[in-house]
C-alpha cells in the first residue's frame, strides 16, 4: 500500500470514527409544539453521509471550508454544511424513509472544480453510512 493509499485509508477510519462519534453525541432536549421534554429518537435517522473534499493536485489533501450540499433528487430542499480544517464533512442525513441512492452530494469551492463525487457504502446494512469523497481540481 503506497503512502497516498495509506493516508486515504487512515482518513476514512478517522471519518468513520467521527461519523459514529457525532451520531452518539447528538442527544438532548428537543422541542416543537411538542412537550419539550422528549428526547431525540435516533432510530428514525436515515443514512449519514461523510467524507472529504480532496485536492487531486495535492495527492488528495483535504480542502478546508468547502461547501457541501446534500439534496434529494427532484426535491425542493437541501442540507448544506462545510468541510473542517482537515477537509472532512459529515451530514447527518435525511429520514430513514429516504433512499440514500436518491441523495446527491455535491461540493463547491471558489478556485476549484468538482471532478467527481466518489461514493461507497460501508456495508449493505440499512442506515449504514455512505462515504462520499469530492475529488476536486484547481481551476
Amino acid at each position: 500500500m503506497n503512502r497516498f493509499r495509506v493516508a486515504l485509508f487512515t482518513r476514512s477510519l478517522v471519518a468513520l470514527g467521527l461519523a459514529a462519534g457525532v451520531t452518539l453525541a447528538v442527544s438532548g432536549g428537543a422541542w416543537a409544539g411538542g412537550t419539550g421534554l422528549d428526547e431525540r429518537d435516533e432510530d428514525e435517522a436515515g443514512t449519514p453521509f461523510f467524507g472529504f473534499a480532496k485536492d487531486l493536485g495535492l495527492r488528495g489533501k483535504g480542502i478546508a471550508d468547502t461547501k457541501v450540499v446534500a439534496e434529494i433528487k427532484g426535491g425542493n430542499a437541501s442540507l448544506v454544511t462545510r468541510t473542517d480544517a482537515q477537509g472532512h464533512f459529515r451530514i447527518a442525513g435525511f429520514g430513514k424513509d429516504i433512499d440514500p441512492g436518491t441523495v446527491e452530494i455535491t461540493c463547491s469551492k471558489e478556485g476549484y472544480k468538482l471532478q467527481r463525487a466518489a461514493r461507497r457504502r460501508l456495508s449493505n446494512d440499512p442506515g449504514s453510512p455512505v462515504e462520499v469523497d469530492c475529488l476536486m481540481v484547481k481551476q
Binding site: A30, N76, V80
Partner: protein
C-alpha cells in the same frame, strides 16, 4: 483638564474669553459622556461586617407612588451615586441586590433639589440564601449531568427553577406534575397560567426519567438545618459585578398589572417603548420619559384558546405586527389610526392547535409578503397582503421523524428571502422568496436549538444557541458559522442584538444578567439586574451615546432600560 486647556490658549486671550472657551469645551465634551460630570442627587457607601466596603452591590431607588425604579451599582470603594437627572426630589425607598446579603434595616432617602442626599447602607448576611439564587445558580449548584439538567430549561418559560428545588414531592408525584404541566400553553406565567385546547402527551417512561432526577435535587428527603430547608448540595452563587459591569444605570418601568407579560420590546422614534403582551390580548406601550402606560386591545378570534402574542415586529410603513400564538394568524396595528387589522389563518390551514409564534414583515414592500410560522405543523407560512391568503412551506420534509423541529426566530434579507432558526433542533434555514426552495444549514454544535435572531446590514445573521449556551453568527453570503461560548454556564441565551459598535447584547430567562460581548476581542461584561428577570427579545437603541439596551421582564411585569456608562 482645565489647566491643560488654559495652558494651550494664546497668552493675549482675556480671562473672560478663556472662561467662555472653557464652557464651550465642557459643553462639547459633556454629550459624549453624559453621566460622568452630572450632579448627584443621592450617594452613599455600602458596607458589611464581612467585607467592609462592597463593590458590585446594586442599589435601587423608587419614589413613593412612582412606577419607575432606578438602579446604580457600587464601585470599588463601595460607593454609589444617583445622578440628579434620574431622581426627582421626594421620598425614596431603597433596596439592594448582593448575593448572600440583605439590607440591615429599612432603606430610605429624602432627595431634595440642588443638593446631594446621603444614605450609607449596611448589609448583613442573608438569612435565606436559597431565596436569592437565580435559576442559573441553581443549575450550577445541583449535582447531575448536563443531560439530566437539560429538561429543566423548558420549565423556565413559565417559572424559576427555585419552584422545583423547593418541592418535597417524590418521583411518582413529580412525574404526574410533569405530565400535567405539558398541558399549559407556552404563553403561561405563574400569575396567569393558560391551559392548552389540545393536550400534549409526555410518555410515562420519559416523565419518570426526568422525575427520578428531580427527586434527587429537591427537598423530598426532608432534610432541614437550623436555617430551615437544606439541600444535599452546597448552594453556589455567581460573583458580584466588578469593574465595567458596575458602570451602568438600570431603569425599570413597572407595568400596571402583575399579569402583564412583556415579551418583545421595541422603542420607536417618538419616545415610546412598545411591547407584546404574552398572555393578554393587548399591545402595550410606555412613555420612556414619564413611565405613562397605554394599552390597545385586539379581538380574540378564539375566545376559548390561550390569549397573548409573542413577536412584535415593525414593517417599513411604521406599523406594528403581532403573532397571535394560539389565537392564530397575525394582527397589524397602525399607530396613527390606532386600529388593528387581523389576518386570520383560513379554515383549511387551521386546527385547534394552530400557533403563530413569530412574524417577519420587515421586507414586505419587496413582494407584498409577510412571513410567519405554525408551531403545530412545524412549518413556515407566508401571508399575501393583497389577498389575505396564506401558503404553507414545510422545510423539514424528508428529515428524520425522530427529531423535533420548530421554525422560530425569523429574519428577512433585502429581497425578502427568509432566514429562520430551527429552535427544535439545530439548523439555520433559508426559504427562497421566489422559488420557495428551502435550505438547512446545521450549526457546528449539534442540538444547539437556535432561538431568536437578527440580520445586520452586512448579511450576518446573529442568533442565540439556546441549548448550546452559545451565541453565534451565520454569514449568509459565505454560508458559514462562527460560534462563541457565553461566559457563564447554564445561561441559555434567548436572543442577541448587534449594536453599532459591533458588540453583541443578549438576555436570558435564567441568570438575571444582561450579556455584552465583543466578538472581535472575545471580552464580555455581564450586567446584573435588580430583581428576578425573565428576558425574551432584546433590543439596542443605537441612536443614543452610549447605546441603550431595552428588554422586558416577562414574569414580573416591567420594561427594562439599561444604559452602560462608557
Amino acid at each position: 483638564m482645565s489647566k491643560l486647556q488654559v495652558r494651550v490658549f494664546p497668552p493675549i486671550m482675556s480671562k473672560h474669553k478663556i472662561r467662555i472657551l472653557l464652557w464651550l469645551a465642557i459643553a462639547l465634551i459633556a454629550p459624549a459622556s453624559p453621566h460622568a460630570q452630572e450632579s448627584v442627587a443621592l450617594s452613599g457607601r455600602v458596607t458589611s461586617a464581612e467585607e467592609g466596603a462592597m463593590e458590585g452591590v446594586l442599589v435601587s431607588a423608587q419614589q413613593s407612588g412612582s412606577p419607575i425604579t432606578v438602579t446604580v451599582v457600587t464601585d470599588q470603594s463601595g460607593s454609589y451615586r444617583f445622578p440628579a437627572a434620574r431622581l426627582a426630589p421626594g421620598s425614596y425607598a431603597l433596596r439592594i441586590r448582593a448575593a448572600g446579603y440583605e439590607l440591615d434595616g429599612a432603606g430610605a432617602a429624602e432627595v431634595a433639589a440642588g443638593r446631594t442626599a446621603t444614605a450609607d447602607l449596611r448589609l448583613r448576611k442573608a438569612h435565606d440564601l436559597a431565596a436569592q439564587l437565580t435559576s442559573t445558580e441553581w443549575l450550577i449548584s445541583m449535582p447531575g449531568t448536563a443531560e439530566q439538567k437539560r429538561p429543566l430549561i423548558e420549565c423556565m418559560s413559565c417559572h424559576t427553577v427555585e419552584r422545583i428545588v423547593r418541592s418535597k414531592l417524590r418521583a411518582p408525584e413529580l412525574a404526574a406534575v410533569l405530565k400535567r404541566m405539558q398541558n399549559y400553553a407556552n404563553n403561561s406565567t405563574v400569575q396567569h397560567p393558560q391551559k392548552r385546547v389540545v393536550e400534549r402527551e409526555l410518555s410515562d417512561k420519559r416523565a419518570r426519567e426526568v422525575a427520578d432526577y428531580l427527586e434527587t435535587i429537591n427537598l423530598s428527603a426532608g432534610e432541614t438545618s437550623s436555617a430551615g430547608a437544606a439541600w444535599s448540595y452546597p448552594l453556589q452563587t455567581l460573583p458580584r459585578p466588578r469593574g465595567r459591569a458596575t458602570r451602568v444605570i438600570i431603569t425599570e418601568y413597572a407595568l400596571p398589572r402583575a399579569t402583564i407579560a412583556p415579551h418583545d420590546v421595541r422603542p420607536d422614534q417618538q419616545g415610546f417603548v412598545w411591547y407584546s403582551n404574552f398572555v393578554e390580548p393587548y399591545l402595550g406601550r410606555i412613555d420612556a420619559r414619564t413611565g405613562a402606560h397605554s394599552e390597545f386591545r385586539y379581538e380574540l378570534p378564539k375566545p376559548n384558546a390561550p390569549a397573548g402574542a409573542l413577536a412584535l415586529e415593525p414593517d417599513q410603513d411604521g406599523n406594528w405586527w403581532l403573532s397571535m400564538m394560539f389565537q392564530s394568524g397575525l394582527v397589524r396595528f397602525d399607530p396613527r389610526t390606532q386600529q388593528f387589522r387581523h389576518f386570520p389563518i383560513p379554515p383549511d390551514l387551521m386546527s385547534d392547535a394552530t400557533q403563530q409564534s413569530l412574524v417577519m414583515p420587515g421586507r414586505a414592500k419587496v413582494d407584498g409578503k409577510v412571513w410567519t410560522n405554525d408551531v403545530d405543523t412545524r412549518t413556515i407560512m407566508r401571508l399575501d397582503l393583497a389577498t389575505g391568503a396564506y401558503e404553507r412551506i414545510d422545510p423539514f420534509r424528508g428529515m428524520p421523524k425522530g427529531r423535533q423541529h420548530s421554525p422560530y426566530g425569523l429574519a428577512a434579507d433585502p429581497d425578502n428571502n427568509l432566514y429562520f432558526m430551527d429552535f427544535g433542533d439545530e439548523s439555520v434555514g433559508r426559504v427562497d422568496a421566489r422559488t420557495l426552495r428551502t435550505t438547512l444549514y446545521p450549526t457546528p454544535t449539534p442540538a444547539s436549538r437556535p432561538r431568536r435572531t437578527m440580520l445586520d446590514p452586512k448579511g450576518r445573521l446573529w442568533f442565540a444557541e439556546f441549548a448550546a449556551n452559545k451565541v453565534a453568527m451565520f454569514d449568509i453570503h459565505k454560508e458559514s458559522f462562527t460560534e462563541w461560548d457565553v461566559p457563564t454556564p447554564h445561561t441559555y441565551p434567548y436572543d442577541v442584538f448587534l449594536d453599532r459598535n459591533g458588540e453583541l447584547w443578549s438576555g436570558t430567562m435564567s441568570s438575571d444578567r444582561v450579556l455584552r460581548f465583543d466578538p472581535a476581542s472575545g471580552t464580555s461584561t455581564e450586567y446584573l439586574l435588580p430583581q428576578q428577570t425573565n428576558i425574551r427579545r432584546v433590543f439596542v437603541d443605537d441612536s443614543t451615546t452610549p447605546v441603550t439596551f431595552w428588554t422586558g421582564n416577562n414574569h414580573h411585569a416591567a420594561i427594562i432600560k439599561l444604559e452602560p456608562l462608557d
